[in-house]
Assembly symmetry: C2
Amino acid sequence: MGEQVSYNTSEAIETSTTGIQLYYFEKEVFDLIQQSSMPDRDRTKLFAQLARFNVLYMVASAGSGHLGSSFSSLDIVSWLYLNVLKSEDRYFSSKGHDSPGLYAIQTALGIIPFEKIHAFRKIGGLPGHPDVSTPGAHTNTGSLGMGVSKAKGFLIADDLYGNKSKGRIFVLTGDGELQEGQFWESLVTASRRRDGRLTIIVDHNKVQSDTYVSAVSDLGDLEAKFLAFGWDTVRCDGHDYLALEQLLISQAPDGRPRVIIADTIKGNGVSFMEHTSMGDEQEYYSYHSGAPSLEDYQNACEELLRDIKNRCSDNDIKLPKPNVLSIELGKASENSERMIPAYSEAILMEARRDSKIVALDADLVLDTGLIPFKEEFPERYIECGIAEQDMVSQAGTIALNGLIPVVHSFSCFLTSRASEQIYNNCTEKTKIIYVGSLAGLLPSGPGHSHQSLRDITAMSAMPGITIIEPANARQVKSALQWAVSSNSGSTYLRLTSIPYESFDSNVLGEDMVEGRGEVIFGDSNEIIIVAVGPIMTNIAISIAKKMSSQGYLIQVICTTWLNRIDIDWYKQILEGTKVIMTLENHYMERGFGSWFIGELSVANIESACRSQAIGIDSIPACGAADEVLEHHGMDDESLVERLTILCDKFSVSVKEP
Amino acid sequence: MGEQVSYNTSEAIETSTTGIQLYYFEKEVFDLIQQSSMPDRDRTKLFAQLARFNVLYMVASAGSGHLGSSFSSLDIVSWLYLNVLKSEDRYFSSKGHDSPGLYAIQTALGIIPFEKIHAFRKIGGLPGHPDVSTPGAHTNTGSLGMGVSKAKGFLIADDLYGNKSKGRIFVLTGDGELQEGQFWESLVTASRRRDGRLTIIVDHNKVQSDTYVSAVSDLGDLEAKFLAFGWDTVRCDGHDYLALEQLLISQAPDGRPRVIIADTIKGNGVSFMEHTSMGDEQEYYSYHSGAPSLEDYQNACEELLRDIKNRCSDNDIKLPKPNVLSIELGKASENSERMIPAYSEAILMEARRDSKIVALDADLVLDTGLIPFKEEFPERYIECGIAEQDMVSQAGTIALNGLIPVVHSFSCFLTSRASEQIYNNCTEKTKIIYVGSLAGLLPSGPGHSHQSLRDITAMSAMPGITIIEPANARQVKSALQWAVSSNSGSTYLRLTSIPYESFDSNVLGEDMVEGRGEVIFGDSNEIIIVAVGPIMTNIAISIAKKMSSQGYLIQVICTTWLNRIDIDWYKQILEGTKVIMTLENHYMERGFGSWFIGELSVANIESACRSQAIGIDSIPACGAADEVLEHHGMDDESLVERLTILCDKFSVSVKEP
């Protein structure tokens, strides 16, 4: 795939006005390196550099992915795969987001078919976070802190299957990850093992999502902690193969599990991506997640190429040229809008108005839009680290003391990891605002660990919480204002993080009337689509336009209320309606639609019996947005078909002009 | 309240054939002690002994409650309240179940109106676990591990309210509680404080729910752990006031938070209840939770009385007699059945049949019915300690390795604390059986932290999990067998822990046909009640009998399937049905009923539009079973009324004979 081009270091990466060139090394190059007679350390280092080059390729071609952590762990993982792991051993990463690094190694070694390198975060390709459906993946990770628990499960099962081989298990963790409570839960029973089979390596790269671990929540004396928990504890430079070699081969004399604290450099291998290159004034690290800019990509490639070339020539290896792939650059829509910047402004506005507002976050200050808040109100910004349970319980007593805590994380983690803590807060009947971003099927690159499709359900059983999903930037501000000033109880705001087409709302000036929706397309209500959230509302408008032009009498209602309904308003709106379809960016099972239809039923609104709830009905696929929507039957064509079938079923037809 | 009776030590407790006498000391006795000129230590010890006497009273009169932990912590908490706490300070217990001990102290001091002592675990009285609606309760606890997080929230709020007093916060924890991951999450940011305001006291009584902490999941070097986490760490005998006094008054010189590891005796104060009196062969501690036997109550009272009398006479205090309350003993129903023993047998049977079955538990081996399993298959019993997240993730990889893990805890904790871990397992598409006991509104003594009313909702959004709620012992066995042998995917079994009336099921021999129910009462389906679970099914039968005798044509269907529906079967069953009422032991919001009615709607079963889902619609009340059912409108009378109204609404009337 791709074509060979002549190049020299300064002209390595070509560009055009509409596309870019991306480069990768073929498997044969890795084979060549493997077959060489270089000393292990040199070979492994060169292998790792080639892997870094392919990591850049994967992340750039996918448009997303985690560079910093892939690079910081690549030396360790390369050493493991090339020099340590036997066939009966298992390696996996507990943090999961360093998957590009792992894939680069596994494709290079033929554990994964090499061509998959072109399908990172593509449907049917390599998922954003590890999934057992991928060759070489032992378990699913991506939600932090589970690694040692999972290792113990493998060991327990091995013990019970007396005749199985007794391979070793190596688990890589992040360092920010060690803020998660489950990790410390899991160390305890593990510490009693004496079979020498379990080794953790902490990729201690000092930087978590956006900034230094020490700034977010300093890990303190990590060695003392592990020793106190009964683990054999050693430490080394994670880029020093001599040290790593010794510590990975050996075991504690009494066979207790070992933790290797490996001091690494986030972004290691590309000078300007290394966290050690950050200026003293620079607070935020730029290469945790996300594709690099074109300029950064080019510079990174050039730097790696230079180093690779040098190593090859030092070892008399004839390095083939990298292959090239040309890709089109996506064009941003002109009408594109994003919720998180709107939320950033909204919470700042509310905080200026009401000094009781306090914002809590769990290491996602950039993604949750809180940087402006943090900078203006540093004393009211509570950074909790990757510790959602701790964060939510702190919010509980902050609220008991009369302040208004606003709690932030990704929907997938906030409503799931801290479910019990949210419930405990609810039983105190205080007022807390929970804000979950990254909600829904998209972005679909990260994979199911991050695609939040069950948060509506999870929050719906929390007594007293009103669930709101704004569909545009305007509604984000109205919703937050309502939550702060109008709602005496608690609120959960569900926010979409990717860009979407903006649309007009609140034409009638009736924003935030509890339990109502808004008609945003169409005049005749013979067929009604009730949509929630920006992605689905836009899709609803799109299919309504299509079907309208075919002659169907169709209306779109967008509602922001996911567990409140003004039944009288709907009675009136649905008078004469023949069929109803609901559309949500969530699992169908006990999500918005099934609840909504149930509510219409018990209110004796008979069109409920001619309705259908549409949502996601299987574990979400990982891939690019369009292919994932299609995979789940949520693309325009599929939805038009499904709605047409529903209309046919109840004899609702196009109207002659 | 009660009457004074003459007594001597051997005749202190009178009995009759239908009732028992319970004894307590009036507030005036405590006042007398407080006003005496005894040295602080003697006074506090005597106060604590009197409090223990009232703890016994409360637990015996409620029929449930936690003696062991109340007794082990009473000396510490008495000292705090009598000698340390200032008005601006806060004390609360993170474990929460030592509430009787706290109430005994707080009623004695007038913080809580004294008469509430007669209303422990009664509606409107003192809840089984602390709730902020009770005077003197700072926050809700009962679900372990939240205490330090909550303390931090108070401190943060105090900091932001610059003008508030800077009182100290004392948090008591259990020791088994320290197995919970959230606890270790919470220590980290707390360790950076330098205001000397935060003190934890670990009630290190060495025994958790059923047995020794060291057997469940040894805490290892606890001091080293706390020191490694940056806390000022000290240790003392938790019954030695001299030591406690020093450590509670003082602070770490640099103001960092302090943890006092207090070595205590579970059940301290009553010789045979003290864990140190357990024989070497004795594995299980008998006084963690539950009311004492009559004999134990009498002996405990006599022993405490003796000690109290001695202390009084040593200090020239004229001790008044305790007051007496006569209570009737409840009679167990003759037709009474319990699910957990049935489950015990069922899992043993399955395990003998299939060697792949492994049972995991989180310190609830007695309550989950696993003692027989553990004794017969010790190598297949995995005790995880109070660490649900860790347990569930271990189950995940045990399943990946081809075994069949069966995971146990209370529904309230299993589906809530480990929500994210269950989901992660689901994405691996393995087969795991989750078993939640203590499901539903009853028992209602413990309070909302334990009454699980949201587990159906929580599990319904887990892809691939089938949710089953057996309604009798027979169905427990069928359900487990189905989960093990017929279901290729994962299952969640929801079990009731209290006794209920047994009823016949599977008359037609069609047990466990997926998605169907069973008609268990009535012939004519004009009015249909669909009930789930033993409590609600019995209630449904009861109200159906009542309304039937009034002339209504009414049928009861019991279904075990909470998220699977055989719509064709229901179409046939509901043919001619005029109204439907569903009845569940769960929140109404996105529970069974609302889902069920929604499913009927989208299948165009028009009686769905003449239906009502009945469940719990507010935070569950704490109290005795009957009063709590009535409080929630789930008593017979209320339900007959609600169903009658529904019938009237849709013109369904009694039939003339």
